[in-house]
C-alpha cells in the first residue's frame, strides 16, 4: 500500500510492471491500473498544465482514501502516484493501481480511488493556452460520481464479477 506525491515524472509502464510482479508474488489474481494524461485544449494550443497542491494535506487525503478502499474491498495491494508542478500535453499526471484475488474488487476499488481522488484530494489544475491561463473548473459529474459509493457501494462490491 503506497502513496506518492511528486514533482518528477514517473514511468507508468514501469510502475505497472513493478506493481503486477509484487501483486503476483502476494497471490493476487487481478490487477487494475488507471492513468490520467494531460489532454490538449479543445481548440488545441495548450502550453502547459500547472498542478498546485496542499503539501501535507495531500498525503493525508490520499492515505485516507486508500485506507478506505482497503477497508471496503479485499485488496492485496494499492498504489497512488500523483504529480504536481508543470506538465506538458501528453504527460502522465497520475495513476492508481489495485490488486485483488478477483477482478470485481480490483475494478471497483480503482474506480473508487479515482472518484475520491478527483474531488477530495487537494489538487488544482491551471491550463495555459493561446488565450492565457485559466483554472480548470470542477465537474459536476465528478461530484456526482462520489454518490454511487454511498449506499450502492455495498451492493456493487458484493455483486457480479470475479477474476
Amino acid at each position: 500500500m503506497s502513496v506518492r506525491v511528486q514533482r518528477e515524472a514517473f514511468d507508468y509502464g514501469r510502475e505497472c510492471a513493478g506493481f503486477e510482479r509484487a501483486a503476483a508474488a502476494s497471490g493476487a489474481g487481478a490487477v487494475v491500473t488507471f492513468c490520467g494524461i494531460v489532454r490538449d485544449l479543445p481548440g488545441g494550443g495548450l502550453r502547459h498544465m500547472e498542478i498546485e497542491h496542499y503539501p501535507g494535506m495531500t498525503e493525508r487525503a490520499l492515505g485516507a482514501i486508500e485506507a478506505e478502499a482497503r477497508q471496503r474491498w479485499a485488496l492485496d495491494a494499492a498504489l497512488i502516484v500523483h504529480r504536481y508542478g508543470s506538465l506538458a500535453p501528453g504527460e502522465t499526471i497520475m495513476m492508481v493501481a489495485t490488486a485483488a484475488p478477483h477482478r470485481a474488487d480490483a475494478f471497483d476499488a480503482a474506480a473508487f480511488l479515482m472518484d475520491y481522488l478527483k474531488s477530495r484530494a487537494p489538487f488544482w489544475k491551471k491550463e495555459t493556452g493561446p488565450e492565457g491561463a485559466a483554472w480548470v473548473a470542477a465537474r459536476t459529474e465528478d461530484e456526482a460520481a462520489l454518490e454511487r459509493w454511498s449506499d450502492a457501494a455495498a451492493r456493487r462490491g458484493d455483486g457480479p464479477g470475479g477474476a
Binding site: Y54, S119, R120, P122, W135, A138
Partner: protein, 83 residues
C-alpha cells in the same frame, strides 16, 4: 487565537499571498470569513461566492459552520480538481 491561514489556486491569486498568520476571536469558519471580508476589497472579492469555496481545518475538510476552537491551520480553496 492565532491561526495559520492558507489560500490555494485562484483564492491565493485574488488575495495575493499563499499564507498568513491571523489573530482572531472568530468562533467558526463563517465568522472568520466575515472578518476577513471586512479587511480589504481583495478578501471581499475572494470570498464573494462562498459556493465556490472549500475549507480544511488542520488538513481535514470541514464545513463553513465548523468551530475553530483548538484549530491551528485553516485553508481556503476552490473545489478540488485532482486526477
Amino acid at each position: 487565537m492565532t491561526l495559520q491561514v492558507l489560500y490555494f489556486a485562484w483564492l491565493r491569486e485574488r488575495i495575493g499571498l499563499p499564507r498568513e498568520e491571523i489573530e482572531t476571536r472568530a468562533q467558526t469558519v463563517a465568522e472568520l470569513v466575515a472578518e476577513l471580508r471586512t479587511r480589504e476589497p481583495r478578501y471581499d472579492a475572494a470570498f464573494a461566492d462562498m459556493a465556490a469555496v472549500r475549507v480544511a481545518l488542520d488538513q481535514e475538510l470541514a464545513g463553513m459552520d465548523a468551530p475553530l476552537a483548538g484549530v491551528r491551520e485553516v485553508a481556503f480553496f476552490p473545489p478540488m480538481t485532482g486526477g
